[in-house]
Symmetry: C2
Subunit: 454 residues, 2 copies
């Protein structure tokens, strides 16, 4: 495959120029004023896939179109589904950009533009590698299917329907997504675990109206006090969540994972300084990275009840509400734990109060199989492309598309991060290192042969 | 003194007519559009005191004037300071009145108008009794000083300054106020105890901004969870407040008081039905009346923090605030307990969080000496005027003027209730029983001779 790598090395500048052309299209999905540019971006991507040698099409959805492209002539070989998105965040505030958001500028070893890293630049590494294989070699060692949507920055509302409706067409062995980051410069990362989520809202009602706290206080339950009592019971002194059964399905971190996390550079003092805090807090017995990536949480996101204006008001409030989310880790189940939480509140409810418990969205945690041949292929490909083995990390949030690929297509996702957290994703002066862009393309090119070899 | 009672009985209709004249003046202190009527009401009261035979004057304040009148020729006899107010609540909503708020109507044995009971009608019983003594008898058995303000319904902002500036002029042995209610029809009451109050606001700050709950959740303290934890610790399972020293100065109810309270009609089922609740709640070992009147409380009046809009938002909030008031009973000190509460929060604060604790107004609880000659005189006078001994009750709220009389003038206040809780104070269709109005005047007339006899 040296011919493929040679091709990429030889065409490095052209690759940057092609990316710059895409970055010049202001494909802001959130604002309907940009609609013609969304169409132009989809067409640009479609043309690039065709020129690379793929069968490609633009597929309309209820929102912005999905660009689909495939090359499936590697009979008997695995199929990789490559996901990315051609839409970008709005560029505001415009006056904070050094050079205009949609006039890509190359300086300091980076390309600067909205979408440079999220996700046009990272996505393009895979387009380039596939094109290089087909130009330099005439074929790919595996089958590839590209799904490139235009609504990632506005909630991917039409993606699941597309996946559901095209299960056969999208049949694959593994999904590949480069929309995350390296752990730090020079430390490309595979994000192999994500936390899930459950969300609920609890409203307690005491008296049927706000009462004079002098006349009635002491003789009736106060729903704010009661709600605080419930929430206060959620954690013990050591930060452990007290809902019965909450930890039953938590897959413990392996010694290997803990050692890997511990080996990562993490400056706790800088972390605290950024947050303006004097100390971290969390479940005893775990490090900050472990708490963020691999342990469940139960956070009140918002609370309100009674009088919230200026100064005092002497009432016993009628109602109090808390919005709560729990971040979940493999193999916790959002539905079962929502029910456990509801029961916990119900069983700890003081007399004289009524509870309304409503649930919002939930999402399963996910973890990719660290021992799978796909994971081994990705590690090896990155080591070849970047000259260093990737670090294996998790992330504390959710990436809905990973859950969709798991639940709808039944495949693991390889989250391969080429960008940096400091690339100003979603902020002014977004940029992407040209070196990382190029190494990402090399790693991607290697991935196809590694997957075939696996 | 039969001549005085005869006079009151003979002039019963004229008394109602004089009250109706005062009720026709829409003396709404809250609304500056009513200013001319405030002046008219002060003048009406001033004229009535002069006609009764008192030396009276209208004393300007920074707000509405105070009407002052005195008769101090009973050398060597006690001096009673009679407090009342000539201002009334706004009459809104107007369309709910059967007859207009400022066109007094006599029907069903009551006089209907804004201020009928609160406080023009109740106040007038004392004006009538003093006038009757002076007309029928030529003198009073005690000295009397009237302080009739025009700002009770808007916070009595200028009263304390007036009391402070006129300590010598207002020197007295006991204060008399009829601005409370009977316990029930046919059960005139002396309110001998009031709860005090302390008010504070607690704001906890965790991270310096709202954080993504996926990225950061579990590694930093959540100030809403932490605030709930603190508030949850305020009470134990039996409803006892856990702030160290909180109950140290609580004067226990005597067996006599508990027996008196227990003898009062109290329909717990009706109480709960009115509040829409299935059960009462409070400190174990006490009845509802005891909890409302004679036990301290710690209620959150309002709480807010994080996201309070619709739907979920996955953040770890930066801040959370609770507004808290404690109702206090004799001899708890608001300042000392505010400090105890602050310490309690401080000592239970989890690491990594900062607290801002601000205090608002405080007020001491009060209790009148049940064994004083003034109390004995009031009981006896009510028994003579109403034909039944008064019940001895407390109230759960505060009446600031009682604290002012105690702290500035150094006297107990006799809170003598002639009205009914069902008189629609502050609501449409306020009214006052003409029978209670008359009996109140008789009891007041008796009070002056009983005070002299004591």
């Amino acid at each position: 495959m040296q011919d493929v790598l040679d091709f990429l090395n030889a065409n490095r500048d052209q690759a940057v120029e092609q990316l710059a052309q895409l970055l010049r299209i202001p494909s802001v999905s959130a604002d309907s004023a940009f609609l013609p540019h969304m169409t132009a971006a989809a067409e640009f991507v479609h043309n690039a896939l065709c020129e690379a040698g793929l069968d490609a099409e633009i597929i309309p959805t209820a929102g912005h179109s999905i660009v689909y492209g495939e090359w499936t002539k590697a009979e008997g070989e695995p199929t990789a589904l490559i996901y990315g998105h051609y839409d970008v965040q709005p560029p505001d505030p415009l006056d904070l950009w050094t050079t205009p958001a949609f006039e890509p500028d190359v300086r300091d070893g980076c390309i600067w533009a909205r979408g440079a890293t999220d996700d046009k630049g990272q996505l393009w590494t895979h387009v380039l590698s596939v094109a290089a294989w087909l130009k330099a070699h005439g074929s790919l060692p595996v089958n590839v299917k590209f799904v490139i949507e235009g609504e990632e920055e506005v909630g991917s509302n039409n993606l699941d329907h597309f996946l559901e409706s095209n299960k056969e067409k999208l049949k694959c062995d593994v999904a590949v997504v480069s929309d995350t980051s390296q752990y730090a410069p020079g430390m490309p990362a595979i994000t192999y675990g994500l936390r899930g989520i459950l969300a609920c809202e609890v409203t307690l009602t005491g008296p049927n109206r706000d009462l004079h706290s002098g006349v009635f206080g002491g003789s009736v339950i106060n729903p704010v006090n009661a709600l605080c009592g419930l929430i206060g019971k959620l954690h013990d002194e050591s930060g452990r969540i007290q809902v019965p059964g909450f930890y039953d399905d938590v897959k413990p971190l392996t010694d290997g994972e803990r050692a890997e996390f511990a080996s990562l550079p993490h400056d706790e003092a800088a972390y605290l300084a950024d947050l303006g805090m004097s100390s971290v807090w969390g479940e005893h017995g775990f490090t900050t990275l472990e708490r963020r990536w691999a342990r469940p949480t139960c956070d009140v996101n918002g609370i309100f009840g009674g009088y919230t204006g200026e100064g005092p008001k002497t009432i016993v409030p009628s109602k109090a509400t808390a919005k709560i989310t729990c971040r979940l880790v493999p193999d916790q189940d959002p539905h079962a734990l929502t029910e456990a939480l509801r029961k916990f509140f119900e069983q700890n409810l003081p007399p004289g109060i009524s509870m309304k418990f409503t649930t919002a969205h939930g999402g399963k945690p996910s973890i990719a199989d660290l021992e799978s041949p796909y994971m081994a292929a990705a590690k090896s490909a990155i080591e070849k492309g970047f000259g260093t083995a990737p670090v294996m990390i998790r992330e504390g949030g959710s990436i809905p598309v990973v859950a969709s690929f798991d639940q709808i297509l039944g495949v693991d996702t390889l989250l391969l991060g080429w960008g940096q957290n400091s690339d100003n994703l979603h902020s002014p002066n977004e940029h992407f290192s040209i070196e990382d862009f190029h190494k990402g393309a090399l790693a991607s090119a290697c991935l196809w042969s590694e997957l075939a070899a696996g």
